[in-house]
Symmetry: C2
Subunit: 340 residues, 2 copies
Amino acid sequence: MPLLSAEELTDLSVKILVAAGVCQKNAKLVSTHLASANLCGVDSHGLIRIPQYVRAIRNGEMNPNADITVVRETASTALIDGGNGFGQVACEAAMNIAIEKAEKATVSAVGLFKSFHIGRLADYAEMAVKRGMIGVVACNSPAWVAPWGGTQRLLGTNPICFAIPSGQSRPILVDVSTSASSEGKVRVKQARGEVLPEGWIVNSKGTGSTNPSDLYEGGALLPMGAHKGFGLALVIDILAGALTIGQIDGEVPRPFNNVFLEAINIEGFRPLKDFQATVDRLIKRLRACPPAAGFEKVVIPGEPDFELREKRLKEGIPIEDSTWDDIKSLCEELRVDCRS
Amino acid sequence: MPLLSAEELTDLSVKILVAAGVCQKNAKLVSTHLASANLCGVDSHGLIRIPQYVRAIRNGEMNPNADITVVRETASTALIDGGNGFGQVACEAAMNIAIEKAEKATVSAVGLFKSFHIGRLADYAEMAVKRGMIGVVACNSPAWVAPWGGTQRLLGTNPICFAIPSGQSRPILVDVSTSASSEGKVRVKQARGEVLPEGWIVNSKGTGSTNPSDLYEGGALLPMGAHKGFGLALVIDILAGALTIGQIDGEVPRPFNNVFLEAINIEGFRPLKDFQATVDRLIKRLRACPPAAGFEKVVIPGEPDFELREKRLKEGIPIEDSTWDDIKSLCEELRVDCRS
């Protein structure tokens, strides 16, 4: 299993993307997000995505150098057409617009449609934190999840992420999908010949199942927390897909996203320092909470991401052999030297 | 079990509250919200609350005729001091301000602190729908819930409600707490001598328990969906409690709430009719989804509320005998005729 530094990973990714026809600027931006995902342990949104991206460029599904257009705008809102381009490029632009608007208007909401896969949501939410704001990013995604009480895949795993500044160096990051599990986790269990926990999937008849294969034979993922996760997935579908003139679930082409973003400028409500002091008090109380049976401690949301990032920045990012093989083949094909 | 019409319930509630020192206007507003909760089947936020409210007025904990003050304001945001008065009065004022601001600014966010119990969240979120907007209401509440992996009650059941206009008469209403169960449901199970489903509570040692009594002997409710509900509860705590200069969980006096409200003016993004048509398409697809084993159909969030409201408007609202006894005693004490 090769071990790449974040810089090596980024450089390699830039070279491949540029060779595939992506402009230098977009290649750098996308690669930085891929490396960020790998650093935080969200490997499913890291280097492993490159072959998919290159395929999408080649078959014309995605325009890597698309123009990003603001199609509608007020002092506090914007609706953005991503031009079927890179999600990372469009979503970073969307959050920058949200932040600029919240600088003046205190609170802003931005919708993004025609965007390819945006990757790790927290990357964009964290941008708001760096400007003393609360960042919110939610997206809908291709259908994998059944509504509560139903059998068909009609909803995406529709995640939502909140990033909240604390007084310490690390923000609180709450980044949760609204399904009980991701499809990726089911696939891993299948590959390992393991059974699933109860409550993850239904089979094609709508009966609960612990057999991973049932998901791929017409089954569906289940929402988290029964009707609650269903309700939240539906809200995200509507905010990200209906409000933004994008698609609603079941109509979202794979792997596109429609995105809803918000920025809340804390200073509009109270001095940032006072807010941060309250958040710090809350974190302190959570840390002091005696752990429940089977737990070492209460984990502050976001903490594992930051800890892994620090570790991988020092020790490097492990790339699975199968991913590395795919990358090597792609490099050969594109005449890119994968050993920098 | 007496059966009251919504009008009878409202009138009786007004008479009691006025006799307890509440001004006519506030008594009417609060009573309308209590009746609305009863109509929708949220009986825990209906007439049953009157004795608690009267007690809080008598012991000076709540000021029934408090002034509501906007302490900070921008074109799109407001921070509101509820003056330790009725939550229903303050929260209705807060949502009216959010709606007015969103009329001009497209999106708005309002914080409310020093507010007594606000009751049924959907009442306020629905106000936005009546103006062609998406309404969001979230609040924190006194601590009952342990953080994921912890043993202490540090979070409220922190609910969030979204109301979304459809093209049909009924909006989508997603109104969910972030805990696996409410305290009220555990109390009912205890009264009936039943055991709890797994995943509702931990005992004082932080071990999962199905014995309702364990909750009242130092135990805690669990978040819904493990770490996901914990993360969402934490976000709501921060939006409603930290951003609003209110209290964070564990410091919220019972039964006060801090509230975060948003209004999103759909016309700022796209014509309302187009949005409604998309939501209708989504509802139609959900209705057409074949039901899973053990279900009759996919229930559209909010539908049960509206159906029960229609039924109870016709047939009357059943009041439990124990609640009716308390109301009768209170009427005697206050020299109010409970038979109108």
